[in-house]
C-alpha cells in the first residue's frame, strides 16, 4: 500500500496519508478510488469550474507492476459537460510513475493564483510557474516540459482548449495519449493547472515479490503464445472500421446514416499502407495498439499518434472525411489543441448538419461548412478551442448548443446526459443502445461493448440484452480499478483468471475475481448516486437516447429501416433497472445500496429528495 497525496492549489500545500486497506477492499483502486474520493471530497452542488471541485488521479494496485497492460491511470472530477460524475482513463507511462513516487491516488483541489505546473519528485511536491507553456499546444507543452524538468519526468498536460474551459477539453500525455472524455481537461484549466510532472525512484511494495514476478513472467509468455498475438498489433483499432460498416453501425454524417461509402479510405489497411510510422504502446504492453503516423494533406503535414478507431469514426465517417490522411490531420489538430476527438468530431458534425438545414448561417459561423471538407473541420476545432465566434456556443457541447439553436436540433444532438455519443451507432443493436444510455458518464462505449452480443443473439430482440450489458458494466471497469489495460483480454482473449490470481500476490488481499466484480458493482452504484446527488431531478429521463435514434429510421445501408422506438427503449430501461434492483425511475434502491455497504449513500439521496 502506498499513500494518497492531497494537493491544495490555493494554499500551495501537499499532504499525504497512508492508503487504508478498507479503501482498497471496498473500491480496489483506480476508478473505484476516483468514485469514492469524489463522493467524499466534492461538496454537494459544487460548480465544476470552481475551486471546490476536486480532480482525482488514481493508478491501480497493479499499475507499474510486472504484468501485461499495467500502465493505465484513471482521472475524474465533477464533469462540466454533464454536471454529474465524470471520469476518463489514459495509458502511456504516467500511472507507473505515480506508483514509483509512492502514491495510490492524487487529489487536487483549490485554484492556483497563476498558471502552474505541479512537480512531484518522489516525496517533494513543488508548484512551478507555467507562464512559458500556458497557451501552447498540449504536444508542444509536453516537449518543452520534458526539456525543462528532464526526460525521466512523466508529464500530463492540457492544451489551449482546457485553459479556455471548453467542456470537452482533454488531458494529454506521452505525445498522443489522452484522458479524453467528460471535460476533465477543462477542470484542470479552471484551476490554472497546466500540467502535472511526476518522477518516482522507489520500488512498489509487493506482498509476495518472488511469486508475483514468476506469475508476471508467465502472463507475458502466455500473451506471446496467444493465437491472436501476431495478428492484431500491426493493424490496431482502425482494423475494425470495415466491419463496423458491414454491420451498419458506423457513425456517418452526424449519425444520420450508419454506413460510410468511403470507409475503405479510412480503414486499418489505409492507415498501415499510407501513413503508419511505427506501433506505439504503453507501459508493460505486449500488444501495442497505438499507431504513430505521418500524414500529408493539402493543409500541411502532421505527425500524430493515431488515428484510433474512435477518431476515425467521429472525425472520419461522422463528418464524411474519406481519406485517412485528412482524418489524421484533424486528429493532430485536436491533439495539439487538447480537445477530445470523440466529442470534437460529434460537435463539428452537429454544426455541419445545422448549417445544412439553415439553422446556422454563414454569417454566424464565419464561413461555409460542408460534409467531407477538412477545412470546415479544422476551422471549427480552432474556433472551439479559443471559444471565438461560433466556437463559444459549440464549446458548450451539443446538448447546450442545440437548446440555444433550437429548430428541432435537439433531436440530432447526439448525446446522453450531456456527453457526446462515441463511435458506434446503435439503431440495430439494442444491447449497444442500452450500453450508451446507461453508461454512468454519458454516451460512452467503454463500459459495455455489446454489439457482437446483439449479432449473436438477434439484432431485433430485446430479451437478455440489459442483462448482458450489466455483466459487462462490471467486468470492463474492473480493469479501470486495477489500473490495467483490458485489451489483452478483449483483443487476444487473455484469461480473466490471470488478473485475479495476480491481485493477492501483489496486495496481500485474498480477493477472487468475484470479489473484484463486487467492488465494481459497488463503484457503479456509487457513481450513479453521485450524479443523482449533483444533478437535480436525475433518473430515467437522463437515460434516453437522442430523438434521432427513437424516431428516424436508418435511411440506407445494412441497417436500413431500423430504429428503436420509445416503447422499446422504455422496455429495455425497465429490464435494466429491475435487474440492477434500482427504482423504476432509475435510482439505486436503498436495499441494493445497503447490500453493497453504501447505506450512507441512500441517506444522502433521500436528503436530496429522491425516494429510494
Amino acid at each position: 500500500m502506498g499513500r494518497i497525496l492531497e494537493i491544495d492549489l490555493s494554499a500551495k500545500s501537499a499532504w499525504t496519508t497512508p492508503t487504508s486497506e478498507e479503501l482498497i477492499r471496498d473500491f480496489v483502486g483506480g476508478r473505484g478510488f476516483v468514485a469514492k474520493l469524489l463522493w467524499d471530497l466534492v461538496p454537494k452542488g459544487t460548480d465544476p469550474f470552481s475551486a471546490e471541485n476536486v480532480v482525482v488521479i488514481a493508478p491501480g494496485p497493479l499499475s507499474g507492476v510486472y504484468l501485461p497492460g499495467s500502465g493505465k491511470v484513471h482521472m475524474g472530477a465533477k464533469s462540466p459537460a454533464t454536471g454529474g460524475y465524470g471520469d476518463s482513463n489514459m495509458g502511456g507511462h504516467f500511472s507507473p510513475e505515480v506508483k514509483y513516487a509512492g502514491y495510490d491516488a492524487i487529489t487536487v483541489k483549490g485554484k492556483a493564483a497563476k498558471p502552474t505546473v505541479v512537480l512531484i519528485n518522489d516525496d517533494w511536491v513543488t508548484f512551478e510557474d507555467a507562464g512559458d507553456v500556458w497557451g501552447k499546444g498540449a504536444i508542444a507543452s509536453e516537449a518543452l516540459l520534458k526539456k525543462r524538468f528532464g526526460e525521466d519526468f512523466q508529464i500530463a498536460t492540457i492544451g489551449p482548449a482546457g485553459e479556455n474551459l471548453v467542456k470537452f477539453a482533454c488531458i494529454s500525455h506521452d505525445f498522443g495519449r489522452q484522458a479524453g472524455r467528460t471535460g476533465v481537461g477543462a477542470v484542470w484549466g479552471s484551476k490554472n493547472l497546466k500540467a502535472i510532472a511526476v518522477r518516482g525512484t522507489k520500488s512498489i511494495p509487493i506482498a509476495e515479490p518472488g511469486k508475483a514476478f514468476e506469475k508476471g513472467k508467465e502472463m507475458y509468455a502466455g500473451c506471446f503464445h496467444k493465437r491472436g498475438f501476431e495478428t492484431w498489433t500491426p493493424y490496431g483499432t482502425a482494423e475494425v472500421v470495415d466491419w463496423v460498416n458491414r454491420v451498419g453501425a458506423f457513425p456517418t454524417k452526424n449519425f444520420s446514416e450508419t454506413y460510410f461509402e468511403g470507409h475503405k479510405g479510412i480503414n486499418g489497411q489505409a492507415l498501415k499502407d499510407r501513413i503508419k510510422v511505427t506501433d506505439k504502446g504503453c507501459f508493460g504492453c505486449p500488444t501495442p495498439c497505438g499507431k504513430y503516423s505521418r500524414a500529408r494533406t493539402a493543409l500541411g503535414e502532421v505527425l500524430v499518434e493515431g488515428p484510433e478507431y474512435e477518431t476515425i469514426a467521429l472525425m472520419g465517417g461522422n463528418v464524411a472525411l474519406g481519406k485517412i490522411e485528412e482524418v489524421a490531420y484533424a486528429n493532430a489538430v485536436a491533439d495539439e489543441l487538447g480537445l477530445d476527438t470523440i466529442s470534437g468530431g460529434n460537435v463539428v458534425a452537429f454544426a455541419i448538419e445545422c448549417f445544412e438545414k439553415g439553422l446556422l448561417t454563414e454569417e454566424q459561423v464565419g464561413r461555409k461548412l460542408a460534409w467531407g471538407d477538412l477545412g470546415s473541420v479544422v476551422y471549427l476545432l480552432e474556433k472551439i478551442a479559443r471559444r471565438e465566434g461560433i466556437g463559444e456556443l459549440l464549446s458548450e457541447g451539443v446538448r447546450t448548443a442545440s437548446r440555444t439553436i433550437g429548430g428541432g436540433s435537439e433531436k440530432f444532438a447526439i448525446q446522453v446526459k450531456g456527453l457526446e455519443w462515441s463511435g458506434y451507432e446503435a439503431r440495430w443493436a439494442p444491447a449497444m443502445m442500452v450500453s450508451y444510455m446507461t453508461c454512468d458518464v454519458g454516451a460512452h462505449h467503454n463500459r459495455s461493448w455489446a454489439i457482437t452480443y446483439d449479432v449473436a443473439k438477434g439484432r431485433d430482440t430485446l430479451e437478455g440484452k440489459a442483462s448482458r450489458v450489466i455483466e459487462l458494466q462490471h467486468i470492463r471497469p474492473t480493469f479501470d480499478s486495477l489500473g490495467l489495460c483490458r485489451l489483452q483480454w478483449v483483443e487476444i482473449g487473455f484469461e480473466l483468471e490471470n488478473y485475479a490470481s495476480m491481485f493477492p500476490l501483489v496486495t496481500g488481499i485474498s480477493f477472487t475475481w468475484q470479489d473484484l466484480l463486487r467492488a465494481s458493482e459497488r463503484t457503479w452504484n456509487l457513481t450513479r448516486a453521485f450524479s443523482a446527488r449533483e444533478v437535480p431531478g436525475f433518473g430515467r429521463e437522463h437515460d434516453y437516447p437522442p430523438g434521432r435514434f427513437m424516431e428516424e429510421k436508418v435511411p440506407s445501408g445494412p441497417a436500413k429501416g431500423k430504429v428503436i422506438p420509445r416503447e422499446k427503449i422504455d422496455a429495455l430501461l425497465d429490464d435494466y433497472y429491475s435487474e440492477r434492483r434500482w427504482t423504476r425511475n432509475g435510482l439505486p434502491s436503498r436495499s441494493k445500496l445497503e447490500e453493497l455497504g453504501l447505506g450512507y449513500v441512500a441517506d444522502e439521496l433521500e436528503k436530496a429528495g429522491y425516494s429510494v
Binding site: G64, V65, Y66, P96, Y100, I139, A143, E151, D152, D174, F175, G176, G200, T201, K202, S203, I204, I206, P209, F213, K217, Y220, A221, C223, F224, V277, T278, D279, K280, G284, C285, P286, T287, Y292, R294, L303
Partner: protein, 120 residues
C-alpha cells in the same frame, strides 16, 4: 518491459529506472525509439578510480561490490548511458548478459550475443 525485467531479475526492484538498458524516445518527431545496451566498450573500467571494474573472460565488465565507492564516475562515462547506481547498496551495476530482457521483449527488438531471440 526489458527495463523492468532487468531491475526485478537482478535486484528485485519494481522500478524500470534501475534496468541496465537505456530507451531513448524521439517524439513528437520522428516518432521512433532507440534502445541502447552495453557494448562492452570498457569506458567504465577506464573511468573507475579504484579499479573496482574488471574485464571478464567473456569480454563483459563486472563491478567488485566491495571496492565500489558509488562515485558515479562509471555511470557518467558510459557512452550508452546504461550503467545504474543501485539505491540502498550504492553500488554500480553493469549488464551481466543474463538475457532475460531478450526473452521478454514482446517485439523481439533485442537480440542476444549470438544475434538471436529466445522468446519466453
Amino acid at each position: 518491459m526489458c527495463l523492468l525485467t532487468c531491475a526485478l531479475t537482478n535486484f528485485g526492484l519494481n522500478n524500470p529506472r534501475y534496468g541496465g538498458l537505456e530507451i531513448v524516445p524521439h517524439f513528437p518527431s520522428p516518432g521512433t525509439y532507440e534502445v541502447k545496451v552495453c557494448q562492452r566498450c570498457g569506458a567504465c573500467k577506464d573511468a573507475c578510480p579504484t579499479g573496482a571494474i574488471k574485464e571478464q573472460p567473456d569480454g563483459s565488465y563486472r563491478v567488485e561490490v566491495d571496492e565500489c565507492l558509488g562515485c558515479d564516475s562509471c555511470v557518467d562515462a558510459c557512452p550508452e548511458k546504461v550503467l545504474r547506481l543501485i539505491p540502498g547498496k550504492n553500488v554500480a551495476f553493469i549488464c551481466v548478459s543474463c538475457g532475460e530482457c531478450v526473452k521478454y521483449c514482446p517485439r523481439e527488438a533485442l537480440v542476444d550475443g549470438d544475434g538471436e531471440v529466445k522468446r519466453a
